[in-house]
Subunit: 192 residues, 2 copies
C-alpha cells in the first residue's frame, strides 16, 4: 500500500534494536483518515470473503480495528490483556509472550462475544514475532468461530511472525512488509 | 441521545455495586455504527467550537475516540496507562486513581503530540468519579494546549465526577446520564 509506505518513510523513526516508531500516526497519535484508507485496502484484499466480526487486541489495535470495521460494517471485539490471577469462567483465555515487555500475559475474550457463527478477521497494527496473532487465533479456535484471515498494518519481515502465520495456512495480508531498516541512514526496505 | 439510552436499556446489564455493564456494544464488543451516531451527536453539541485534536485514554476510549474523530476530521491521541517506575523525559505525565481496580497508575502522553496549538476535545466511554478525566485535563494544561470540552458516552450521575468537572467550568457533554439504576428490577433512570 503505497500511501502507507510513503507515510512510514516520511514519519517513521528507526531506533536501536530494530524498533520502528510510528507513533505520530499509527499507535499513539492516530491519523484516522489514513486508517480509513487502510480499511478500504483490507476490504479490497479480503473481497469475496464472508466476514461478520473483527477481532483485535488492546490497546493500539483498537483504533485501527474500529475504523476498518466501519468499512466492513461489522462489530469489533478486542481481547483484553490481563495479569489477573483469577479469571472468571465465562471467558476464552490464552497466554501470550511479549518480547517488547519481556513478560507473559493472559488475553481474554468474553465467551458471549465469540462463537461458532462468527467469521472473524483479525486486525492489528504490528506483526513481529507473531505471538499476539497466534494468541488471537487460539481464542477463535477455542470459541468454535471461523478465522477468515488477518490484516496487519506493518509486518516486520525480518522477524519470524509472518512466516509462522503463513505456514499455518492463515490468510495474512500485511499492508507494508519491512524487510530491513538502517538506523544510521534511516533507509527502510519494503518487500516487493 | 435517545438511540443510546434505548440501547443501554435494551443491552445494558446492572450488576452489584452500581456496575453498569455495556460490554456488548461499548467497551468489549463495539458497535461502530452506534459510535458513528455518537460522533455525529458530539459534533452537534460542540458545533462552532474549534477542535483540532481528540484526546482519550486506553483502552476502551480508543475505539469511540477514533470513530468520533472521523466525524470531526481530526487526529486522536490516547494517553497510555503505565506502572513503569522510570518514565522517559519527553512525556507529560500525571497520576490517576482507579476506583475500579483500586490502584494508582501513571498516564502519559508524548510531548510531541500535545502542545500549545492544540484545541482539544476529550472523549471517553464512562464518567464516574472523574479521576481519569481530571488526569487528561491536567496533561492538556501541562502541555499548554487548550481544553475545549469533554464528550462522555455514559455518565454515572449518582457519582461525583460530573459535578466535579462542571464545577471547574469545563464544557462537559454526556450523551446519557444515569441518575439511578436498580439491580433487582433492571430499571435505569436517566436524567431529563
Amino acid at each position: 500500500m503505497k500511501l502507507l509506505k510513503d507515510r512510514i518513510r516520511k514519519d517513521g523513526k528507526i531506533k536501536e534494536g530494530n524498533v520502528l516508531k510510528v507513533d505520530s500516526f499509527l499507535n499513539h497519535q492516530m491519523d484516522v483518515n489514513l486508517f480509513h484508507e487502510i480499511g478500504k485496502e483490507f476490504k479490497r484484499r479480503f473481497e469475496g470473503e464472508e466476514i461478520n466480526k473483527i477481532l483485535t487486541i488492546e490497546a493500539s489495535g483498537i483504533g485501527i480495528a474500529c475504523v476498518v470495521a466501519e468499512v466492513f460494517n461489522v462489530p469489533v471485539v478486542f481481547a483484553k490483556k490481563t495479569q489477573t490471577k483469577n479469571i472468571a469462567g465465562d471467558v476464552y483465555t490464552t497466554k501470550v509472550e511479549s518480547f517488547t515487555h519481556s513478560r507473559v500475559y493472559d488475553i481474554i475474550v468474553a465467551k458471549e462475544f465469540l462463537g461458532k457463527d462468527d467469521k472473524v478477521l483479525i486486525i492489528d497494527d504490528f506483526l513481529a514475532n507473531g505471538k499476539a496473532l497466534e494468541g488471537l487465533a487460539q481464542l477463535i479456535e477455542d470459541s468454535g468461530a471461523t478465522l477468515i484471515g488477518a490484516g496487519i498494518v506493518i509486518e516486520k519481515g525480518f522477524q519470524i511472525g509472518g512466516d509462522l502465520i503463513r505456514s499455518r495456512g492463515i490468510h495474512l495480508e500485511s499492508l507494508a512488509i519491512v524487510d530491513s531498516m538502517d538506523e544510521k541512514t534511516g533507509e527502510i526496505l519494503f518487500r516487493d
